[in-house]
């Protein structure tokens, strides 16, 4: 599907979501409560069948913590960016999508480790790289005492 067709299809499927064409990919912003349902729909709906999650990350914006999922369909070869804003920037919580795309299990652990986003129903949510005593280094308010990396 082209980006325009994909946008039309997604707008029809997801009535509560905001669908737009970004600089490269179609972007869909869903509510945090609807993330898991949206993930299942994106992966199982035959016209969409987004089965390959190639990038999962989070971004700490001044007002919000945003999770970003880059998805591709190996069948139709179209790409979508799924975004979700967490309700709280300081204590962000979203549902896990690791039951939909297995690779998310460790990518979510990385996001939890570096950004402090908690994932509901994740089977093994522990820090991945760092020790428990560390802060969340990719947050913008993180102070690096040893070697200052600041913007």
């Amino acid at each position: 599907m082209t980006n325009e067709e994909l946008q039309a299809c997604l707008t029809g499927e997801f009535t509560n979501a905001e669908v737009k064409i970004g600089k490269q990919y179609v972007e869909i912003l869903v509510n945090a409560e609807e993330l898991h349902d949206a993930a299942i729909k994106l992966s199982t709906e035959p016209l969409l069948s987004f089965d390959y999650l190639f990038c999962l990350t989070g971004v700490d914006y001044p007002e919000k913590m945003q999770m970003v999922y880059h998805l591709e369909s190996t069948k139709h070869r179209h790409t979508v960016v799924l975004k979700v804003n967490t309700a709280d920037r300081v204590d962000p919580v979203v549902d896990t999508v690791s039951d939909v795309w297995q690779t998310a299990k460790y990518h979510e652990r990385e996001v939890y480790d570096l950004l402090g986003v908690k994932f509901n129903k994740h089977t093994d949510l522990r820090r991945l790289f760092l020790d428990d005593s560390w802060g969340f280094p990719l947050r913008k308010d993180y102070k690096d005492e040893v070697r200052i990396v600041e913007r």
Partner: protein, 377 residues
């Protein structure tokens, strides 16, 4: 992270006949500082829990305080065997964001460099693949041939591994006058050497026994775990970024995306050998046709990206490498995320190795071709 907590989490029940062994972080066959917590019953592997982060260098965080040309210099410290692809990914991302069209000459040079890097990486992988299975000869053969590529790099880029040859808008300097001649010499020579690789390892009975039907990964699992590169293609997952999202001079060349549906260690091995043939084929199509022209377009002294998000995918030697840049219009990025192929590939290891013997675990890990700084970033 307390050790006891990990043990309780990683095994549902502690059986008296099962025990936990730490493989690594200092272990010759993990090729870097990686620790695998392996649950064994006798020689049989039941579960593998990889532990990473021993050499985490916080590159994504560091990028937030650096300018875009500086960011490029950090990318070849991640997957140092795919240095040029990583550099190129950031350059392409910046160029796309600024809508800069690079000269054809740059596209050709970059693509040749990509394929030379892929060859050098696969050669080193082949060296250690044999060595992991106890065949030391492969190590000398592979390094002997890799040396030629590194010499070519040295002559043109000034560096042998961390090239930093790509810059936003082009390449750092023009190719060395000897470049084309030496690349062509290398192709002729390496074409003769590749059958030796097959004689030494591919056709070897012991090698076949150790890799055939070992470490099976299904197509569904490969996609679900995001296993890309030759490792994913060994399971029939068509994931070659050069084919599906072509960049640089890849739309201009003829090459085949090699796929295998067997999904075992041997399939992953065979595909890398075949990829080397394909890489030679790609270089041959380009090397005599490098267009005349500038080797870079003039960029502004300070590179500022417009506000927004930019993503670039490239095919590194290990699989799909991605750069995700969030810009707020300043001279350094607001957030950078590197999607490294090794990270996703590593965590599918449990799927492949569970049920096999511990010696096979070494062979399976070798066919994944892991580079640890790529995982830890």
């Amino acid at each position: 992270m307390s050790e006891t907590k990990e043990i309780i989490i990683s095994s549902d029940k502690i059986h008296t006949d099962q025990y936990l062994v730490n493989m690594g972080p200092q272990h010759p066959s993990t090729h870097g500082v990686l620790r695998l917590l392996v649950r064994l019953e006798g020689e049989i592997v039941h579960h593998i829990q990889p532990h990473v982060g021993y050499i985490h260098s916080g590159i994504e965080k560091m990028c937030e305080s650096l300018s875009y040309p500086q960011v490029i210099h950090l990318t070849d410290r991640m997957d140092y065997l795919s240095a040029h692809m990583n550099n190129e990914a950031v350059c392409l991302c910046v160029e796309n964001a600024l809508q800069v069209e690079v000269p054809d000459r740059v596209k050709y040079i970059r693509t040749i460099m990509d394929e030379l890097t892929r060859l050098a990486s696969h050669q080193l992988w082949w060296c250690v693949m044999g060595m992991d299975l106890g065949a030391l000869t492969t190590f000398f053969y592979g390094l002997r041939d890799r040396e030629h590529i590194l010499d070519i790099f040295e002559e043109t880029c000034g560096a042998r591994m961390t090239l930093n040859y790509s810059v936003p808008g082009g390449v750092m300097f023009d190719i060395h006058p000897n470049f084309q001649k030496r690349v062509k010499e290398f192709i002729t020579e390496f074409r003769k050497k590749l059958p030796e690789y097959d004689e030494l390892l591919t056709g070897n009975v012991i090698f076949q026994e150790r890799t055939n039907d070992i470490g099976y990964l299904s197509l569904e699992d490969a996609i679900a775990w995001g296993v890309t590169g030759p490792s994913g293609r060994g399971s029939g997952f068509s994931c070659d970024v050069r084919k599906h999202n072509p960049y640089s001079a890849y739309p201009l060349v003829q090459f085949e995306e090699k796929l295998d549906t067997k999904g075992d260690s041997f399939a992953r091995y065979r595909l890398r050998i075949e990829e080397m043939h394909e890489s030679l084929h790609i270089i041959e199509q380009l090397i005599d046709n490098i267009p005349e022209g500038d080797y870079a377009v003039k960029m502004k002294g300070v590179v500022k990206l417009p506000e927004g998000e930019f993503y670039q995918r490239v095919e590194s030697a290990r699989g799909e490498f991605g750069v995700y840049i969030v810009s707020d219009g300043k001279k350094n990025p607001y957030r950078v995320k590197f999607r490294s192929p090794g990270f996703s590939n590593l965590f599918a290891l449990n799927k492949m190795a569970a049920g096999h013997k511990i010696a096979d675990l070494v062979a399976i890990m070798s066919t994944l071709d892991l580079v640890i700084p790529d995982i830890d970033r």
